[in-house]
């Protein structure tokens, strides 16, 4: 059955024609049951080919939390990326794929003891920290590891800020770096995170400046660092076209070249930038209502079973199955009984029939990995196309 979607000029900026063609061809099949997440494998490969290209001496570690689907992890593994993980559950996925421990790092500054034990046993050697207690844990359960300290950096301009929970100021970081040897660990570097979906390229400037100060202070104390982990944060197109990765990386590379020794190893931890825009959630309109003067659309995917990031301010672009009729303004909500389950407001879309499909673009990252089955609504399954 051929379905008709209203594809418009603004969609073309968010989803490439080849991806849309694959998605439409897939949903033309009769037997589909929504919701599900389609992942364009060519797009993932294309994204991977762009990341790290412009930063010399860099290793790209996919942040598995963005979407830990085994088939995606397998694809990323075959493209020879490393992985960044934080839990035993994530390590199990990588172990099942036989990923070498040398390609795995863990940058969550606070790790559980069972995970540390498991990671150490597997052979993972790179761990982040930002507390004295964490150094103690790593020293005891993963002795001899290479550790890097998490700096606090501004997250302004990021749509998903991360700085409050983690990170140290320079002097505190320096003090902890000085304690590492005593704990039987090797202090190798510095990490920071500018915030996920970072649309302010200057956040990297401030962060790299700050890391440079710490790097030099450490050197004065006789601690020679060799690794700069610049975290993730590369943005993708949700509703607007963002600065491209090449531009961001050229800026980062210039800063690093100015401020750090030429042989500094660079770790990157992209998640969203690897898979976000390769994913399209396919959902159905399950209800429509007018409440006072507001039009409401209810979908079979919502805040709890996939679109959690909408709560933090991520807004999506939608393509609706409909051809005729003028656009109206809609509030878009998920299927659950909870009134918190509202995804978006004031969205211009045609008036769909109940049962119409709705494509939610750039929804590959931090969607199904956040999802719960609250209220009995299924988590969309991930399908690679």
């Amino acid at each position: 059955m051929l379905r008709n979607f209203r594809v418009q000029k603004y969609h073309a900026e968010i989803i490439p024609k080849s991806t849309l063609l694959k998605v439409l061809t897939y949903v033309d099949k009769q037997e589909i049951q929504t919701p599900f997440l389609l992942m364009d494998t060519d797009r993932i490969r294309q994204n991977i080919s762009k990341i790290g290209n412009n930063i010399p001496n860099s290793t790209v570690c996919y942040a598995l939390k963005a979407n830990p689907d085994a088939a995606i992890a397998d694809l990323v593994n075959k493209e020879h990326l490393g992985f960044e993980i934080a839990s035993g559950g994530e390590l199990k996925i990588l172990a099942s794929l036989g990923v070498e421990p040398s390609r795995i790092i863990s940058s969550n500054p606070v790790k559980s003891i069972p995970f540390l034990k498991m990671a150490a046993e597997y052979g993972v050697r790179y761990f982040a920290f930002d507390s004295f207690e964490e150094l103690g844990k790593i020293g005891r359960y993963a002795p001899g590891s290479q550790v890097y300290v998490r700096l606090s950096v501004p997250n302004e301009g990021s749509e998903w800020p991360l700085s409050k929970k983690f990170g140290l100021e320079i002097d505190d970081a320096l003090e902890l770096l000085s304690c590492t040897e005593a704990k039987g660990l090797h202090p190798v570097g510095i990490t920071f995170h500018v915030g996920s979906q970072c649309r302010n390229p200057y956040n990297w400037n401030i962060a790299i400046d700050k890391a440079k100060i710490l790097w030099e202070k450490a050197e004065h104390k006789g601690i020679r660092l060799s690794l700069l982990n610049i975290g993730g944060g590369y943005p993708i197109n949700y509703t607007k076209v963002v600065t491209d990765i090449e531009t961001i990386e050229r800026n980062i590379a210039r800063l690093i070249a100015e401020k750090f020794p030429a042989d500094t190893k660079i770790h990157l931890e992209p998640g969203r930038a690897v898979i976000g825009d390769a994913g399209i959630l396919v959902s159905s309109v399950i209800g429509k209502a007018r409440r006072r003067d507001e039009g409401w659309l209810y979908l079979d995917v919502g805040v709890f079973n996939g679109l959690m990031e909408s709560v933090g301010g991520i807004r999506y672009t939608y393509i609706l199955e409909a051809t005729e009729g003028a656009e109206k303004r809609w509030t878009i909500a998920g299927p659950s009984c909870d009134s918190f389950d509202v995804i978006d407001k004031n969205v211009a879309l045609p008036d769909p029939d109940i049962g119409a499909l709705i494509l939610i673009l750039s929804s590959g990252a931090y969607t199904v990995s956040y999802a719960s089955e609250f209220n009995g609504f299924a988590i969309p399954r991930t399908i690679l196309i």
């Binding site: 051929l2 418009q8 073309a12 490439p16 024609k17 849309l20 063609l21 694959k22 033309d28 060519d42």
Partner: protein, 278 residues
């Protein structure tokens, strides 16, 4: 001066045409059909805001879509044209004396009517007794009605619109099933400048159904990206070679153009190895 802005949403360039007059504008069951007059291109057929043909240069597209497969076949008697409601491909197919029957399968009868009214030089062949017009979905025709065909030609609108059922593996398989030994199939497959990935995608899907798949190009002034590709699938003949002498009247296509229209083996290898990017 009135101007027509082409609504090709996936094109990085936007074509704008001066409009001498709007000769026709109506909505069919499937699409908006418009005919405008432009001083340089003459009459232009526009479907859903996208230019399909102009009087001035339609022969580039119609000749190149038709004659490569027709000459690669040793004796094309039965031909199916899917889409191409304007009749341009039918006109070209009829230039081959071997042809006994043409299934002319167009989903939107209004396009045929519009062409009759405004493009007599394009639709000149559609009343030929060998032409059997069937107003239906090309995918349904292939699945249920077609057999014993020598050459199948798809002349459709944009790949992501309602024509996308003509680019699926299922469709290509039914095309393969409808073809006789030595049968060939050809379809347009986007611009090599702007949509490399789709060009490769169509080649790959076609390879699921056909043992021999190849790609050739032609310059089309009014299609975004200009460097237009044609995907050709064959049951056995090498589409790069002519199996019959070139002895028809054409304006662009000829036997030498046939051979040089294909991508060089090295470039084709890079394309399919996904090592081309621009």
């Amino acid at each position: 001066m009135v101007r027509f802005f082409e609504n090709e949403i996936y094109s990085p360039v936007e074509h704008v045409y001066k409009v001498e007059s709007v000769l026709y504008k109506a909505k069919s069951k499937f699409q908006e059909i418009m005919v405008i007059e432009n001083a340089y291109f003459g009459k232009m057929l526009i479907l859903d805001g996208i230019v399909q043909l102009t009087e001035k240069d339609e022969f580039f597209y119609h000749e190149m879509l038709t004659h490569v497969a027709m000459h690669a076949h040793p004796e094309p008697r039965r031909v199916a044209v899917i889409g191409g409601g304007d009749g341009g491909v039918v006109r070209e197919v009829l230039k081959h004396r071997t042809v006994e029957k043409i299934y002319f399968v167009e989903i939107d009868e209004e396009v045929v009517k519009t062409s009759r009214k405004f493009f007599p030089s394009v639709c000149s062949g559609i009343d030929d007794p060998r032409v059997d017009l069937k107003v239906m979905d090309g995918a349904d025709f292939m699945k249920d009605h077609a057999e014993g065909i020598d050459v199948i030609i798809v002349d459709s609108t944009d790949i992501i619109g309602f024509a996308r059922s003509l680019f699926t593996e299922d469709f290509f398989r039914s095309v393969h099933g409808a073809l006789r030994t030595d049968g060939l199939f050809v379809t347009h497959s986007e611009s090599l400048h702007f949509h490399l990935d789709i060009v490769v995608e169509v080649q790959e899907i076609l390879k699921e159904a056909f043992p021999v798949v190849d790609l050739y190009t032609a310059p089309i002034a009014t299609y975004p990206g200009n460097w237009w590709t044609f995907a050709i699938g064959s049951k056995s003949p090498d589409p790069r070679a002519l199996r019959r002498p070139f002895e028809i009247d054409t304006r662009y296509y000829d036997d030498e153009i046939h051979r040089q229209a294909f991508l060089t083996p090295k470039l084709y290898g890079k394309l399919m190895g996904k090592s081309l990017s621009w």
